[in-house]
Amino acid sequence: MTDQQKLSEIFKTEYSNLVAVLSNYYGISDLQYAEDIVSDTFMKAMKAWSHKGIPQYPKAWLRKVAQNLYFEDLRRKKTFEDKISKEIHPNNDFSDAPEITDELIEDSQLRMMFLLCDPQLNRESQLCIALRLLCGFSTEEITKALLSNKESVNKKLYRAKNILRGQLSIDRELTLKDFEERLDNVLRVIYLLFNEGYYSSTVEENIRNDLCWEAMRLGVFLSKHQQSKVEYVYALIALMCFHASRLKARQSGERGNLLYHEQDKSLWDKELIKKGQQYLNFASKGKHVSKYHIEASIAYWHTQECEEKWEQILMLYNKLLTIEYSPIIAMNRSYALAKAYSPDRAIEAAFDLDLKENVHYYCLMAELYRMNQDTDQEIFNLNKALRLVKKENEKKLIEGKLESVLKGD
């Protein structure tokens, strides 16, 4: 890893940590202010490290500097206030402020997750602000992750910060009810983060392991503290474990990003699969079944090699669709239909899908026709996909398929 990459990774994780601590423990009610301090900290780091290189404990360095910057600023303000009025605000007493420790950061992050998923914000705003503050995403990255545009993301961030002003402090007590009501959104944010890592929409390399691990860390951490519906959290962790078990195998080829059937199965991480099974077991002991339970079960079957799995997978997709509809789930179901019954039935079902602008839809159609040995239709659909594809490496993939089908292998 180059220094540049290392640096951006450190900044990314430390950004959210610092903002969380500053607002939660030092009582900064203005998010913009907390963000400014963190930015200043990074500026200082860039300057200092460009001469001397990255220090041995870069995170500790950043934490110390952020803390100092904040206190300096506070001191300046306090002097100012003292001169104008003799009042000293009790909240600004920083003499016994805690050091920024790992424990403090974990605790702040947990609080942050729930505070950001405030029901006063709509779902998309919650996601925007969570991606910024928990994951350190730039506006550009949020835009791509949510398939939105820059202007609307900026607007949402601005509005979210305004609504959250004053909400993100240590004084704001989170009740059991908050933890219960906001859990769904918190889980969605974690899953989105994992997704972004598993198949990045922002970078060409597609896979950003650090985000996957970060999402899993947040999940495990959450599971240790969540009291109600903790089985949902377990199910989500299981789901992430099963997917993450293939990360290494996916990246092992020269091209990177190997497809499922191209992967060397001996590279699948057995430990993670086992972990996933454990968590799925925990999850099934709970009272409720969530979509994460079902998705985790599907992901489990994908870690297995037997052929009978497709009937199970189809059944699970059917069940998933009774809980929540999404055209993507329906699309995946049609592939299971092809495997469990016949490509004909799958093609019939896939025709009904409203995904006519989706690259992967045409890839799926091409695959279904390939299973049916209908070369003309396969080529037709691959060409359609080629017209819609945006990412360079996906384009290569489709071109490769097209080439091999034209050659007649």
């Binding site: 994992f194 997917h243 009937e311 509809y325 592939y335 992967h360």
Partner: protein, 144 residues
Amino acid sequence: MTCPICEILIIKEMKIIFHNLKQKNMKDFMMLFYSEPNPNMEPTPEEIEAEIKLWMDWIGGIGAKGKLKHAGEALGFEGKTVHSDGSITDGPYTEAKEIVGGFIIVTADNLEEAVALTKGCPVLSIGGKAEVREIMPTGDIPND
């Protein structure tokens, strides 16, 4: 959610979901399934499983079209009927030989479309029937 072929995790469907939530002018229809109960039938666990699978495949198909509102319930054969004079009789069936065995709720633009969704319904292949009825809106109760 991964796509099994291309190893692509997809949650970026957010937009599409939001879009679907906004779809208006769709109506809800209840499908009621009638069949003649056979008291002598004692299915094996495998037969029950196969039966459930048939139903789930069909219901999943409606779900895959985005037309499933409620996955419904299956009803047992046993029950009692309470009459207006206060009397209670055995069995859910009084006059008709066929009884309601279950229901699901679907959404569709109109009755014709809802009726078309019954295609492949397992009750039809055992000589039963499916009744499709529009659910009347009952005021301004929010959906959520």
